[in-house]
Symmetry: C2
Subunit: 313 residues, 2 copies
């Protein structure tokens, strides 16, 4: 099946990691070449990749360092140190559960390269299965609203729907302030020949009222044990609106975290300049304050169905 | 009382109309000088002024033409023609009810200059009364969310609250795609020393959830006879969210039109390029579609209280 470049935005070839620079999309499709862990960690810090790309990259950084240190007698101290460096790459995002997995395999004596490659292969397959499971809930003629970007999952859902002879179309919110909807979702859907229409984030009620969409599908950055999810800010209000209009609201979930409910999830507050400027253009008068909570929590009771990623930790 | 430049953005001095160029705000405060009706109608076509500015400008264009034709024996044919030109200035906006007022005074033999000046004076006073009526519904410590721009009414409400010794603060949605919230509302509130914070349009549920605001005040472009209103797109979903969170939702209304309900109000669909580009920067990949309904209708049952503009037509 054809996959979006965003579905698997990182590749490791020999001793070079290729990182899709998502900050240049949609105008340029360019891969950053990282030849050592420092360049790769820099790409995380600079947010050149995001979401699933960051997860894949963490594992590829380990692989790269392992390959580069084949002749070392004891690689353990190197990988412990590396895990620390990766964990510190972004203050508000925890990579610890990923680096802990690798350190766990190492300590238990599992074959490291095989464990990492096996995990990534499983991740890819499970994500494809997740897209297929979602596609099976769709009906011919559905028009789907989505928000932000689910790392290539929307086109994958679309491809499965095609295989099932269902004609579906998409609406994407532009997703201010970073415009992932315009720059990533609309781009990857259009690239694969799907019918996609952009709206601004304040047009959701209007297109629901006009019955231009009949299903909502979003991703999640975080799944709590009670089914609450955290996702890009704006998800919560779309869920409330979907309930108001009686429109089903589906969530493609990552594995559940240790958070019991959404209340246990900390919302990252990002720098206001990201809201007040766009590509150097000042959008607001000097000195005006902005408030930018990057995520919000959608409670379980607004979610019609969770589509789980059936993967072991 | 100190009024925002947006409260009365048009002035007529002698035979020159000064039009606040709202497209340059907030970075430049510049008035366009219109010395004849053609320049003034051009400013309407180019959307240099909007909302109440357009209403005021229509009357000042008549005044200008009347003053320039003092010596004409019969000004009637000139004004009939002028009304036609003004009515055609924007295809989707009807100025006919305004030009009909002037033609009505003319046909009935009322003193024209006095009638126009009297009407504008009344309009100004009634708008100030409307802001005061709204301010009286506020409590000390209120934090108000607003959307788009209500032509200087928000700072006026703030000034009245100050007189009443109530401390209030504001949140403004940026209001994509034209950013009236950032460029106009935040600007005019900050200019008068009010505490104002910008959010993007997808953060409304989150700040309601965080209890950062406890009242919503918006304007309306259109009031139907049953109390439904049409306003800048995004208003409808804020009203649904306000109901969900139990937050009062107030609307500053214009005089009611002949529309019986919101269903009789036509929603203007604007060019998609206004959504897909900002100041020449392409926000979306080439060829992706956009959909831009400029307004939406908020049904009466979502409105806690209408603040009427008590003015005779």
């Amino acid at each position: 099946m054809k996959l979006s470049p965003l579905f698997w935005p990182i590749e490791l070839k020999g001793k070079t990691i290729y990182i899709l620079d998502e900050t240049l999309l949609p105008h340029k499709v360019k891969y950053i070449k990282a030849k050592d862990y420092k360049q790769a960690v820099r790409a995380i810090k600079d947010m050149k990749t995001r979401a699933v790309g960051q997860v894949i990259l963490v594992f590829y950084i380990f692989l790269l360092v392992i390959r580069k240190n084949k002749n070392k007698k004891d690689i353990k101290p190197i990988l412990f140190k590396l895990a620390e460096i990766i964990n510190a790459a972004r203050p508000t995002l925890s990579f610890k559960y990923l680096t802990d997995m690798v350190l766990g395999w190492m300590v238990s004596g599992a074959p490291l390269e095989e464990s990492i490659l096996g995990f990534l292969e499983t991740l890819k397959n499970k994500r494809i299965q997740q897209a297929r499971a979602m596609s099976e809930l769709l009906a011919d003629g559905d028009s789907i609203l989505t928000h932000c970007n689910i790392s290539g999952q929307m086109p994958a859902i679309g491809e499965f729907a095609r295989q099932q002879k269902k004609h579906i179309s998409f609406f994407a919110t532009e997703t201010r302030p970073y415009l992932q909807g315009s720059r990533l979702t609309a781009w990857e859907l259009q690239k694969q020949g799907f019918d996609v229409t952009l709206i601004s984030d304040n047009m959701v009620a209007q297109i629901m009222h006009e019955k231009k969409i009949n299903k909502v599908i979003v991703g999640a950055d975080h799944l709590a044990q009670n089914g609450d999810i955290a996702n890009k800010v704006g998800t919560y209000q779309i869920a409330i609106l979907a309930k108001h209009f009686g429109i089903p609201f589906y969530v493609l979930c990552p594995p559940a975290s240790r958070a019991k409910t959404g209340k246990d999830i900390t919302i990252e507050i990002r720098p206001q300049v990201e809201l007040l400027e766009y590509q150097g253009i000042k959008l607001a008068p000097k000195g005006v304050k902005g408030y930018y909570p990057a995520f919000d929590v959608t409670p379980n009771n607004l979610i019609t169905e969770h589509i789980y990623l059936d993967i072991e930790r």
